[in-house]
Symmetry: C2
Subunit: 235 residues, 2 copies
């Protein structure tokens, strides 16, 4: 039913329209929507999106049917772009974000993901769960190879680190509402530069001087339920 920009079922031979951009208007509309959603959040109006794509507003309805459908297609596009980027490149959760922020297009993609999480949409939750699963898998492997310390709660640790990292970026995004589409790269780079040393330091040494807090908590949780858990203990 839906005709993609390169669907071979109804493609004749050569490209039918050498547009100003080499993309189909539909694809340009989708990319413009991704950029607008990243820049302004999902409250961006369809007229703004259409104006950014250089077309009329009604064309969005003509191509996608509704704003929600357009957004769903943006979610799919970003999700798949992230997936391919993940499989083709290295996927070290620590600097995956930094890698994503390199190209401008990737920067917009990153911010789109942050907006999705910030918005509370199912797509955002899906992103988070994927990131957590990836982090957990990478963590297990890194623990096995001696890079990371083992944890009493591996998936809990992965969940914590992902939510905190993404959340920190969302906070930094919210702290700069005047952000422009052109300085995604700049702002992200400055942020990473700002938090690089503290985060590496935190991940290397922690912040507590000794293990009294951890010991106290473990004793507390042991007193609460002296049965399950605390079996894989080798911190």
């Amino acid at each position: 039913m839906r005709i993609a920009e390169a669907d071979p079922t109804s493609e004749t031979a050569a490209v039918p329209d050498p547009a100003p951009s080499d993309l189909t208007t539909r694809a340009r509309l989708r990319d413009a929507a991704i950029e607008c959603f990243a820049a302004e959040g999902f409250g961006a109006s369809v007229r703004t999106i259409a104006a950014r794509a250089g077309v009329s507003a009604g064309l969005i309805r003509h191509h996608f049917g509704s704003k929600d459908a357009l957004r769903a297609e943006c979610d799919d596009a970003v999700l798949e772009r992230h997936r391919t980027l993940k499989t083709e490149g290295l996927e070290s959760p620590a600097n995956a974000m930094a890698q994503l922020a390199e190209a401008d297009e990737h920067g917009a993609m990153l911010v789109y993901i942050l907006r999705s999480v910030q918005d509370g949409s199912p797509a955002g939750a899906s992103f988070i769960e994927h990131l957590i699963a990836d982090a957990a898998a990478y963590s297990e492997q890194a623990v096995a190879s001696g890079i990371l310390r083992p944890s009493l709660d591996p998936v809990g640790r992965a969940r914590l680190m992902v939510t905190q990292s993404v959340g920190g970026l969302i906070v930094m995004l919210s702290l700069h509402p005047e952000i422009d589409l052109t300085d995604f790269k700049t702002v992200l780079a400055k942020t990473f530069e700002q938090i690089a040393l503290p985060s590496i330091e935190l991940y290397t040494n922690g912040v507590f001087a000794d293990s009294t807090y951890l010991d106290q908590y473990l004793a507390y949780v042991e007193a609460q339920s002296p049965n399950a858990q605390s079996r894989t203990e080798q911190s």
Copy 2:
């Protein structure tokens, strides 16, 4: 000019109106706005707020002039309530949030702060900066008393930990969009229970097995600019 709920300048003798709640309608309106903003974000309509307070919608304009003025007053109220709560109670940044989440009213207050940050409003930025300043002050004191490890970048560490903690809560909030005003406490308690062990573990031991990453970064930053910084080094 502004008539507070207990302003003695125009108070006769006894309470003039034994309303269903013992608060002024104006104060009830303000509290209802705080709750609605916490529950739905700042897109909550004035009609919703008025309905929650059990009054008409136009009354908001009558009392506050505009929705923005109402929100500003909510910001002030929450900020001052947080300030008093901070000074009167203990202020350990680690469990300050947990303490805030105890009472229902405090839970709504916490979520209001999170919404402010999420929204990107100046009030949210102010909250964050205050939290960072507090955390930095507490951190300095805790380092002096041997509870926390010293840092190569103390304020950077405080900034990182605050933004990540608050951001993690925002992500958790966004992951539960169906949140109801009545289970602020429940959701927050479950979240804290979920992240307690991983965060204590992280803050105690870090995640890296050794200090190669930190050493590499320090060497890199030293090679980049061999002059300033790296003087207060005693990690």
